[in-house]
């Protein structure tokens, strides 16, 4: 009786609800749907030509496209090198969480590194390398004082420029972490310029920084390499002497005695001060350094070149 009543009740007349579709799928189908969805999105973005920018930060691309020999979209460094593109990214390619961790190879065992070969001297005259260069300029905030005028020269002379600014960074940070290796691997510069030392003007035990300077030199390898010393705003505790000793006069441009206009903080040069500083450096590069390159005076102003920017290394 009860069974019959149930069969005839409106409840029994309703079709039995089926489990949700996802629960009926094989677990592996579910897993592969998740993986497939992930690869579809990441893969499509990796192959796309348009950057996605969220809250001012460029969304990075995964490396998967490269495994199939597919050229990925132009990365900001290439845009930077061409002097094109928008004023990009704070910390592209790794600023913020997790960027560049780990000890760099060679910090511990760094020995003085022999300077890379200087161009052949023909009968006492300095030989200028007239080939267009790929110039990586990296360092602390002082890079931003050098970069604008250097950009003008690069545009005029066909060089490509990638500036990398790591605020408040030191020789320790660049020597220990992998940022420089990353930049070199990605940009493949023919010439590297360091602008470092301003955060170490007052460092005690400055002599212990030698191993980090050597680690940086080692990372640069046999590329053309010069170092722009800090423009002292107070007497240093030996960083300039250390850099000069480690690099030699042909690779180290001493800025300590330059009279530069400074902004309110009395530390960073004004734009005019930056131009003066850059001109002094380029004069030295052309006439006294180990690596004179083509540096005809600019006839036009280059568009602002986007830089790799990293937050302070703590």
């Amino acid at each position: 009786m009860r069974a019959r009543a149930l069969r005839e009740s409106p409840i029994a007349a309703r079709p039995v609800s089926s489990p949700p579709q996802s629960a009926r799928r094989s677990p592996y189908v579910q897993l592969l749907l998740v993986f497939g969805f992930a690869w579809l999105l990441l893969g499509a973005y990796a192959l796309s030509q348009r950057d996605i920018v969220v809250l001012g930060a460029r969304i990075a691309r995964s490396e998967i496209a490269t495994y199939f020999g597919v050229a990925r979209a132009a990365e900001p460094d290439e845009l930077a090198a061409e002097g094109l593109g928008a004023d990009v990214e704070a910390g592209a390619g790794g600023a913020g969480l997790g960027a560049g961790g780990g000890l760099a190879d060679g910090v511990e065992a760094a020995e003085p590194v022999p300077p890379p070969p200087a161009p052949a001297d023909s009968g006492g005259a300095r030989v200028v390398d007239e080939a267009p260069q790929r110039i990586l300029i990296f360092g602390d905030s002082m890079v931003q004082s050098i970069q604008p005028r250097l950009g003008d020269y690069c545009l005029e002379n066909g060089h490509k420029l990638l500036p990398a600014v790591w605020y408040a960074s030191t020789t320790v940070a660049w020597g220990v972490q992998h940022k420089l290796d990353q930049l070199i691997n990605e940009f493949k510069p023919t010439m590297v310029i360091a602008v470092l030392g301003s955060s170490e003007i007052s460092t005690r035990k400055v002599e212990e920084r030698d191993k980090f300077v050597r680690a940086i030199v080692k990372k640069v390898g046999r590329r053309k390499f010069v170092w722009i010393g800090p423009p002292n705003w107070r007497e240093d505790t030996g960083i300039n002497a250390l850099l000069e000793r480690e690099l030699g006069k042909e690779r180290f441009f001493r800025s300590a005695e330059l009279e530069l206009d400074r902004i309110e903080d009395k530390i960073h040069p004004t734009p005019a001060g930056g131009v003066k500083w850059t001109e002094a450096f380029l004069g030295w590069l052309r006439d006294e350094s180990a690596y004179p390159i083509l540096l005809a005076t600019p006839t036009r102003t280059a568009p602002k070149i986007p830089a790799r920017v990293y937050p302070p290394p703590y």
Binding site: P27, L31, F37, W39, A57, E63, I64, G94, V176
Partner: protein
């Protein structure tokens, strides 16, 4: 064409779990694995093939070492089992132990030995160019436990070389554990279980959790600890203390993140592996810490070293001696350096002191004692990580030296201002590492129950976040070097 590079060993880039490349390969692996449903032998063969490929990507031709040891240990285990004469059984066991320890000794300790000979005799001895195969310490310990258990007749050996090879090379755990015991593994492959939907979702959750632990916490705080340990002389006391905390969090999140991924992948395949961590920084004593930290190693050391040495059955003095020996060798297992020996030895001292204090003043569950125990244990463990992390004793002592200086309040304020994200990450890390396992289980339950599209979105968001923060700079797992 870089596709071909997927099949070539690159010593500078071992195939690490937390990379897009690995997940791409794992996806391809899973497609085939899913298609082989109901064909147990083919599935096991596919796992073995992928495992050997993975080991080859990590170690190149040194994969042959694994294959040789696998064949030798499998054959010796059968011999040990077949022999009735106790003397012969012991002789075969000795052969296998010597063989395995000789392989480990050659690859891992030859240069350590030469360095010490050189230091003692004053003779100049050039180190040899020896490649240390990733994961060798783990699979040799796994093999030794199998041989000893067969010798003890705890279970019969497998007659299948294929299955034994699968046991030793199982890719989720071959390079950094957990060290799996044979019965746990073999009982799950006859046939390999078809996982329920919950298993796959739970496995996926563990992978997500592991990637997040490694890429978002460990690698981030690792930047700071790297800086401090590279040049401790340039940091003030509070900064050095922060660096020590940072390493404590880094190593836990790095290693437990790897273990999470290993357990998650194994579970997706239908194999359940025992947990390797149980909220170790919530331990209220050093003894409890070792029950919660790298559980598969500490239980291995207990079962195959401490107890065979006599354990605590041979009187109090012998108990402490056994404890010290076990911890010294446990330290040496981690790496060929006196730093690791000192690290293990000091843990042994800590364990001995705790056992002595527990005997004299038994713990009656007083709350203050538990809180005090937690604070002391956490700082004891963190302080000993300095020996583990520092490249030599000089650096370790320099870290402790700097810890005592420049504690002016202004410096602390500046540090908190400048390094607030590190402080926040460490606070998050300590809270997360001390949380009871039940909370993690509950979180896993939520993830298992959410609809498939949400799971997919969480997975994609995490992968993208990892791509975002890592750039081209993938950090290998710390425990790969052991």
């Amino acid at each position: 064409m870089r596709f071909l590079e997927l099949f070539v060993h690159d010593p500078k880039n071992p195939l690490v779990f937390n990379t897009g490349t690995f997940f791409l390969l794992f996806t391809a692996f899973m497609i085939v694995y899913a298609l082989l449903r109901g064909r147990n032998a083919l599935r096991l063969g596919w796992i073995l093939g992928f495992s050997l490929y993975y080991y080859y990507k990590c170690n190149g031709v040194f994969m042959l070492t694994l294959l040789a040891l696998t064949a030798a240990d499998w054959a010796i285990a059968l011999r040990v089992h077949q022999q009735e004469d106790p003397g012969r059984r012991k002789a075969w066991l000795t052969v296998s132990v010597v063989l395995n320890l000789a392989a480990l000794g050659f690859f891992k300790y030859t240069n350590f030995f030469l360095r010490n000979v050189s230091a003692l005799t004053g003779a100049h001895v050039d180190p040899l160019d020896i490649f240390l195969p990733i994961g060798i310490s783990f699979h040799i310990f796994q093999s030794l436990s199998y041989l000893v258990d067969v010798y003890r007749r705890l279970y019969p050996p497998t007659k299948s070389l294929f299955e034994y090879a699968l046991f030793l090379s199982f890719f989720p755990q071959i390079v950094a554990g957990p060290i799996v015991r044979a019965p746990e593994f073999f009982s799950q492959i006859h046939p390999i279980r078809e996982p329920a939907p919950d298993d796959v979702a739970a496995g996926l959750y563990r992978i997500v959790q592991g990637v997040a632990k490694k890429a978002l916490i460990a690698d981030y705080v690792g930047i700071y600890s790297d800086l401090v340990f590279a040049a401790p002389e340039t940091y003030s006391g509070p900064e050095v203390l922060l660096g020590i905390y940072a390493y404590a969090i880094q190593i836990y999140f790095d290693f437990s993140g790897y273990s999470d991924m290993a357990l998650g992948m194994a579970r997706i395949l239908g194999v359940k592996i025992s947990e390797n961590f149980d909220s170790p920084y919530g331990a209220t004593s050093i003894t409890e810490f070792w029950r919660r930290w790298h559980i598969s190693l500490s239980s291995w050391l207990r079962d195959y070293l401490y107890i065979p040495l006599g354990g605590n059955r041979a009187g109090p003095v012998r108990k402490y001696v056994n404890l010290m020996l076990t911890m010294l060798l446990g330290g040496l297992w981690h790496g060929a350096s006196w730093n690791f020996v000192v690290w293990g030895g000091l843990h042994g001292v800590g364990l001995a002191v705790h056992k002595y204090v527990g005997t004299r003043w038994p713990d009656r569950g007083a709350r203050w004692r538990r809180v005090l125990g937690w604070v002391v244990t956490l700082h004891f463990v963190a302080a000993l990580w300095v020996f583990f992390r520092a490249k030599d004793f000089a650096t370790a002592f320099q870290v402790f030296e700097r810890l005592a200086v420049e504690w002016e309040p202004a410096r602390i304020v500046t540090m908190l201002e400048v390094r607030h994200w590190v402080v926040a990450a460490l606070a998050l890390g300590f809270v997360a590492s001390a949380l009871p396992t039940s909370i993690a289980t509950r979180l896993q339950g939520y993830f298992v129950r959410v609809p498939l599209p949400v799971k997919a979105l969480v997975f994609v968001a995490l992968l993208q976040f990892v791509v975002q923060v890592q750039g081209t700079n993938i950090q290998p797992f710390i425990y790969f070097q052991f």
